[in-house]
């Protein structure tokens, strides 16, 4: 009896510990983001208040100022949003097409020095953005690509292709070869067999690769901050800096722009989160 009870108590304590640890972890993950959202709705006076005000009041001032245009210290958010969207979407689409063809080559063909090519391509992704931005800045200035959409699109395509190859390679490898062979026997060309048979099967992998590419371009800062100059091409991560002055930061406005920046990423990620995890593990473990 007694032993049973101590055993049960121990189990209960362990369960309580487990719950506490989990709760703390989730709190640490969530609070910083929620703090940003909360502060985007608080008046500046309250954010700066000393001693701190703990029951928040609600205001839409920061959003009104942000969307109100470049007038009273506002930031041209619409232009930044449009630039970000154009650059991310176009570069993702191109990177997926190029990366998919590369991934297919790695998954379906045997050739000499294959793993060498593969690691070599990955290494180009590992080049730090800052280190790349120095020469790119000079080269782009000579070619006239500084401060254009095209310039950033090119950069992001090159950044995203290696990782896309990695992910799609893993997915195409999962598809049995017999599938496209059967389609070819039935009279399809290799090209048709790919689009009609293999692509639909690998769709979820391609989707997760696309999300990664999109998030990378959407969030990139190191290169964008050097290669863009004006409202015509600045992306949102660069736009965040507009809220900082020499010694002060407009925290509320910055939080509002941050919220605007997170929303598309959030929606996209939740839409495909199942594929995202499958994509990462397939591509890696069975590679």
């Amino acid at each position: 009896m007694d032993r049973n009870r101590t055993h049960r108590n121990r189990k209960r304590i362990l369960a309580a510990l487990h719950f506490t640890a989990l709760f703390l972890t989730m709190a640490i993950i969530c609070i910083p983001g929620l703090w940003i959202v909360l502060n985007s709705f608080r008046p500046t006076v309250e954010i700066m208040a000393k001693p701190p005000v703990w029951n928040p009041s609600f205001t839409l001032d920061h959003y009104r100022a942000m969307f109100g245009g470049a007038g009273e210290g506002g930031v041209p958010v619409f232009s930044y949003f449009r630039n970000s969207l154009i650059i991310s979407v176009v570069s993702t689409a191109i990177a997926i097409l190029i990366g998919m063809s590369g991934g297919y080559a790695f998954a379906r063909y045997k050739f000499k020095g294959k793993s060498g090519y593969f690691v070599g391509l990955m290494l180009f992704r590992a080049v730090p953005g800052v280190a790349l931005s120095l020469p790119l800045f000079i080269v782009f200035a000579k070619v006239g690509l500084i401060d254009t959409h095209l310039g950033l699109i090119l950069v992001y395509v090159a950044m995203n292709v290696p990782f896309t190859i990695w992910l799609t390679d893993g997915f195409f490898r999962q598809i049995p070869k017999e599938l496209h062979e059967a389609a070819e026997i039935d009279g399809c060309t290799r090209w048709q067999a790919f689009w009609k048979v293999e692509f639909p099967v690998a769709k979820s992998g391609v989707a997760s690769a696309a999300i990664f590419a999109f998030l990378t371009s959407w969030n990139e800062f190191a290169l964008a901050s050097q290669l863009t100059r004006s409202v015509g091409s600045k992306t949102m991560p660069v736009g965040l800096l507009d809220f900082t002055a020499e010694f002060t930061i407009n925290w509320g406005g910055m939080c509002a722009l941050a919220v605007l920046m997170i929303i598309p990423a959030l929606i996209l990620t939740f839409l495909v989160q199942k594929h995202l995890i499958a994509g990462l593990t397939f591509g890696g473990v069975k590679g």
């Binding site: 993950i29 297919y104 080559a105 990955m122 190859i165 190191a222």
Partner: protein
């Protein structure tokens, strides 16, 4: 005689090779060349003056450079290890949950969507010594202090590491969790029957199976180690008095503020080699771990 055609695999890879060559390789060759010149943005003619390895000699004998280099390596080592351990812990915690697992996994993905620069701003706000959340909470709890989180050298390094770890732990947690889901149950039960303690079965059965997943996460992370630059640049800019200076912030200051592109490019090459070292190291670990559990190919 029929014309020799390029093999199909090469044609398929060609677009990728062209884009990467044009946007990454050519600039890198240019930067390699300019790292042997005293090139300054303000004086374009200096690009044609060859000075050999002068820039490299200069940075290799510069104490400031070595301090930044050492700090970067230390920072990466600590951050990657802590992220891995925390990720493993979180994955095990979530794996034990019987209810609401999907929601928890969704919450785990939350930091992955944040732009590094946003993470920097967010923690700059939270660690602000005057109006930040951390100090406000401390003061409301009755401690009459205003800890200079981003002003004191040691605390600033801690804050930056905290931000970096907050951002990147979830990659590890999610991949390790996927590994735990994929793990076969039989060996664990057999071990239990044979009288293994939970620690023994974790150490000898679960962990070897999880290793490839850990290395995938490491490899993915190592492809992008330099994104810590965004965080540091925003939170402290390498300050106070260079106490949080990493290789990347030093390089960007040398290149863009001092306009000494040649010197900055020499530093850039050191940082590229560092990144390549990390990536190759984890790639090799990954294939070794794959081979061990028979997933090689």
């Amino acid at each position: 005689m029929p014309r020799r055609r390029l093999p199909e695999w090469f044609l398929l890879l060609l677009p990728a090779i062209i884009v990467i060559a044009a946007v990454v390789l050519i600039p890198l060759i240019f930067s390699l060349y300019s790292s042997f010149t005293p090139y300054k943005l303000t004086r374009p003619s200096t690009l044609w003056k060859w000075i050999g390895t002068y820039n490299y000699e200069k940075i290799l004998t510069d104490a400031k450079f070595w301090a930044a280099f050492g700090r970067t390596v230390l920072f990466l080592t600590i951050a990657l290890n802590v992220e891995m351990l925390l990720g493993l812990g979180i994955a095990l915690l979530v794996n034990k949950v019987t209810w609401g697992q999907r929601t928890l996994r969704t919450v785990l993905m939350f930091p992955m969507m944040f732009s590094p620069i946003l993470v920097g701003f967010q923690f700059k706000f939270i660690f602000n010594d005057n109006i930040g959340l951390v100090n406000n909470v401390l003061q409301s709890m009755g401690f009459n202090v205003a800890l200079p989180w981003l002003v004191d050298g040691k605390l600033a390094m801690f804050s930056i590491a905290f931000a970096e770890i907050w951002m990147s732990t979830s990659v590890f947690a999610i991949l390790i969790l996927a590994g735990l889901f994929a793990m076969p149950r039989d060996p664990l039960e057999a071990a239990k029957v044979d009288g293994c303690t939970p620690w023994q079965s974790f150490r000898h059965i679960s962990l070897p199976f999880l290793m490839p997943f850990i290395y995938i996460a490491m490899t993915i992370r190592s492809l992008d180690v330099a994104r810590a630059y965004d965080i540091v640049q925003i939170m402290t800019g390498g300050g106070p008095a260079r106490r949080t200076e990493l290789l990347w912030t030093l390089m960007s200051r040398t290149g863009y503020v001092d306009a000494r592109m040649g010197l900055a490019n020499a530093m850039g090459y050191v940082s590229i080699l560092l990144s390549i070292f990390f990536t190759v190291y984890f790639f090799r670990k990954l294939s070794a771990a794959r081979a061990e559990i028979g997933m090689g190919g």
